[in-house]
Amino acid sequence: MEKVIMGNHAVSYGAKLARAQVIAAYPITPQTQIVEILSEFCADGLLDAKFIKVESEHSAMAACIGASSAGARAFTATSGHGLALMHEMLHWATGARLPIVMANVNRAMGPGWSIWTEQTDSLSQRDTGWLQFYCESNQEVLDTVIQAFKIAERVLLPVMLVLDAFFLSHTEEPVDIPDQELVDSYLPPYDARYKLDTSDPHAFGALVTPDHYMELRYKIQQAMEEAIEVVRQADREFGGDFGRSYGLVEGYRLEDAEVVLVTSATITSTARVVVDELREEGHKIGLLKVRMFRPFPVEDIREALAGASKVAVIDRNISFGHGGIFAEETKAALYNGAHRPPIFGFVIGLGGRDVTPASIRGIAEYTLEHDVPETEIIWREVKK
């Protein structure tokens, strides 16, 4: 069934179709609509889930951890400061190997107080052991929620899907809402291997001495590495069942491209238009959309950039003291590879400032005009 819905509601429909059993959430703009409609689904009996109102995001994640520990499919959504408040519990979810799925609507961190989009909130959670997917459209949002549960439950790691504030969260697009039966066959009920079970009680989360701690961390990294294939397979299977797939990364007009723009989230859609225009003007330019940020798809990126002579990474985020985070990750991914083109790191659109086709054209032209970047961070459109 096709419906015109906002990105936030695409998340809600995804969680409903995935038959989330426990939803614990605390409202925060621009996420609130996600859990608002989910609470209505629960109240109206359209979704057989326990909706837990909590007093903070920290508690929301703690409640999801409890539910998931007991073997329930747990879901939550948050944004910006809410995600930051969850930080401790994000580590816990990973260490306890709980397949929780969370939607994070990117929101710039305050102060200055902001509700608009920026990726620094989710990228700050880079090292918590959560898988991260950055979505480009409302359809991709819905589909990724369903895929996320399948992936999480297979590798026993939590998954965060990320969408831009307002550009996706509050923007309405036509979205195909798949049939429940189809989703049910793609995503069978979660059957937890390790869970709190009063008929077979075990101790969980106890003190682990240096004798064993490192082995547990090693196993998390193993699961992350395994996840790359699991994601690929889940996406392929999804494509077979639903006719849509997204990949870990997606190349656009990469054939013979000398300059490649690397983007994520909604900037990608704008960049596609600019790439088309520049191609028409005769430039050999292509686009690489990075959908999966954790685990970082190093091999896919090396392969996609194998023919590029220059790479321009567009970051709507910043790691202060270093640079745009996608740019730094891309550099690191290529460094030990055979092909090491110059990488231009552009920072733009922080705090939700519009990134227009003209903005992206400017970035492309800068890259075309320069052999190497003049600075490690190339700030764009800063009022100087």
Binding site: G95, A96, R97, L156, Y194, T198, D200, P201, H202, A203, F204, G205, A206, V208, H212, E215, L216, Y218, K219, I220, A223
Partner: protein, 605 residues
């Protein structure tokens, strides 16, 4: 002991920090020094009900929609839910913990709903299969007499009730106006009492056509003759024409006699009889004024009745006492009154009224209705040396009346079992107790029934609670701990307004004797019962089970439950003390204080 698990490589390890062995070996109960116990406490309503009803029990049944069981639960203790649901001053509601969160539960209106519902379903009470030979005579068919007869008959005793008037019911019939208690309600509940085997013989007045010697065949007697004599004002002019005492006035109206009232009626007194008389006079077309010597705060009549009287146009003059009836050729023309001030509290705890010198004034009146107090009738008794005795000729060996019945302070002396100073003779109701309500009389009759049952089976009559406390026909565990508001976990209860029953509009009700209060619909009764906290009474809400961090609480029952949820008394759950480490979370979290904590001083010798 389980064997130690050694991990040689990461592949041996589970992916998360968890024990591979079971934790059941770790009996955390050994850490405990306090333990939780499921122990129901007494809800304040149950504690205050003079008739000994299990109010929380029947409210729980109403919540479940089990009206029949709810009605039967009341009927175990009280044969008059329809009467009490209308006329009881509901002391149960006075201490209801709900008061703090939207107002006390309208218990009486729910009780009335159940009685009316049972009537609409033609429900009856079953008679006992047990038959005893010993027979009991009850003198007086008011609430005390009929309650005693009912409880004895339900236990299998043949009981005969002797009533002086042509119809049974006592004050319920001749004292309480019809607009408060329609007679078909009373008739129906008396019919229930007859249905369990009670024989009622009307028109039998003790000392007139009934003598104690007529009761030779009976093995025990219960005297519940009430207080039938109105106390005089003891002021000049009291014998004038136009003075009629409150009860006599009501009695005549209720018997259907043509009663003429003058246009200007003065009622003297502050109790229910005064209010009833004034409202009745009003309905007969008079302008009625109540004169009361203290202030509104001290007025003993039921608050709602006072409010209804005022709404109907009855005037109440407080701090006023009549000192002389003014007459003209033997007929009342007015009252000379004096204004009163309030002094220090007297033995009743109320402030004593003191006449204000020089404040005399007169009021016009054509009819004066004194309704200040009722006394034991002396018609059938004879005073000898400070004690009252039955007339000569009434003595008989079995009842050993030679000792006589001791009377003190205008009431027959009884002990805690309701036994008089004469063997085999018990007494109750207003003739023997100071409370003056239908519910108290019902409780007092029941107390005597329990005592007579024991007496006839040759058992000791000891162990009855003090006369102020209720007794139970169906024994149940009652804790001495009464639940206070602060004992409840308010996180579970939200403020909800008390539901008021609809009333007939004032202009309509003053034109006749139709019932003023109109009762609850089923929906209202359910909603009102839902407000009940179920104080101190486990109702299987599962909060303890959900909160127990050690999963050491097990539920013992699943629906359908064999007993009303509110009557489980701790039988709903079991604590596994092998693992309960005594954290107390269950007791702390329990919404209704149905779990107690007990210290376990294991190290004490």
């Amino acid at each position: 002991m389980p064997e130690e698990i050694v991990f040689k490589t990461e592949a041996d390890m589970p992916p998360l920090p968890m024990s591979l062995g079971t934790t059941l070996v770790n009996k955390t109960g050994s850490w405990r020094y306090i333990r939780p116990l499921y122990m129901d406490k007494t809800p304040p309503c149950n504690n205050k009900c003079p008739a000994g009803e299990d109010i929380v029990g029947y409210l729980a049944l109403v919540k479940e929609g089990k009206y029949k069981q709810a009605w039967e639960l009341i009927k175990q203790e009280n044969p008059f839910p329809g009467v009490c649901g209308r006329v009881c001053p509901h002391p149960c509601e006075s201490k209801c913990n709900r008061e703090e969160l939207g107002g006390a539960i309208a218990i009486h209106t729910i009780e009335r709903f159940l009685a009316d519902w049972a009537a609409s379903q033609h429900l009856g009470v079953s008679a006992s299969k047990q038959r005893y030979d010993a027979k009991v005579a009850v003198i007086g068919s008011g609430p005390a007499g009929l309650s005693c007869a009912y409880h004895l008959a339900r236990r299998g005793y043949p009981v005969t009730v002797f009533e002086a008037l042509p119809l049974a019911g006592g004050m319920m019939r001749v004292g309480i106006p019809e607009y408060r208690l329609p007679r078909q309600v009373l008739d129906r509940e008396i019919a229930d009492i007859e249905a369990v085997g009670v024989e009622i013989r009307n028109g039998m007045r003790l000392g007139a056509n009934l003598r104690m010697s007529d009761l030779d065949d009976y093995d025990a007697v219960f005297i519940a003759v009430g207080l039938q004599q109105s106390r005089k004002l003891s002021i000049p002019g009291e014998e004038a024409e136009g003075i009629v005492h409150g009860l006599e006035f009501l009695n005549r109206v209720h018997r259907g006699e043509e009663v003429q009232v003058a246009p200007r009626v003065m009622v003297i007194g502050g109790g229910n009889t005064a209010v009833d008389a004034a409202r009745t006079a009003l309905r007969l077309g008079s302008k009625a004024t109540i004169l009361y010597r203290r202030s509104r705060a001290e007025m003993p009549a039921i608050t709602e009745e006072i409010e209804e009287a005022l709404a109907e146009g009855v005037e109440i003059r407080y701090l006023t006492t009549p000192i002389e009836v003014l007459t003209e050729s033997g007929r009342v023309t007015g009252l000379k009154c004096v204004k009163m001030g309030l002094g220090a509290p007297d033995e009743s705890g109320r402030r004593r009224p003191i006449p204000i010198e020089g404040s005399e004034y007169t009021l016009e009146a054509n009819t004066i209705i004194p309704a200040i107090a009722q006394e034991l009738e002396d018609g059938s008794w004879k005073l000898e040396d400070g004690s009252w005795k039955l007339e000569a000729g009434d003595r008989r060996p079995a009842l050993s009346l030679a000792a006589g019945l001791e009377v003190e302070g205008g009431r027959i002396v009884i002990n805690e079992a309701g036994a008089t100073t004469a063997p085999a003779i018990f007494a109750g109701g207003d003739a023997a107790t100071p409370f003056g309500t239908v519910a108290h009389a019902i409780g007092s009759g029941k107390r005597a029934a329990l005592a007579i049952d024991r007496y006839l089976r040759g058992e000791e009559l000891s162990g009855f609670p003090p006369i102020e406390e209720a007794v139970h026909a169906f024994p149940r565990d009652t804790s001495p701990i009464i639940v206070r508001f602060e004992d409840l976990n308010l996180a579970y209860f939200e403020e909800l307004e008390r539901m008021a029953q609809p009333q007939m509009p004032v202009e309509k009700r003053v034109r006749g004797f139709q019932e003023v209060n109109l009762g609850f619909s089923e929906k209202d009764a359910q909603a009102e019962a839902e407000r009940c906290f179920s104080c101190g009474t486990c109702n299987l809400c599962d909060t303890c089970l959900i909160f127990c961090p050690d999963v050491a609480i097990a539920r013992l029952m699943a629906p359908p439950y064999p007993v009303p949820l509110a009557c489980l008394n701790g039988a709903g759950y079991k604590v596994n003390y092998d693992y309960c480490k005594g954290c107390g979370v269950c007791a702390e979290e329990c919404p209704r204080y149905a779990i107690s904590i007990e210290e376990e001083l294991k190290w004490k010798k």
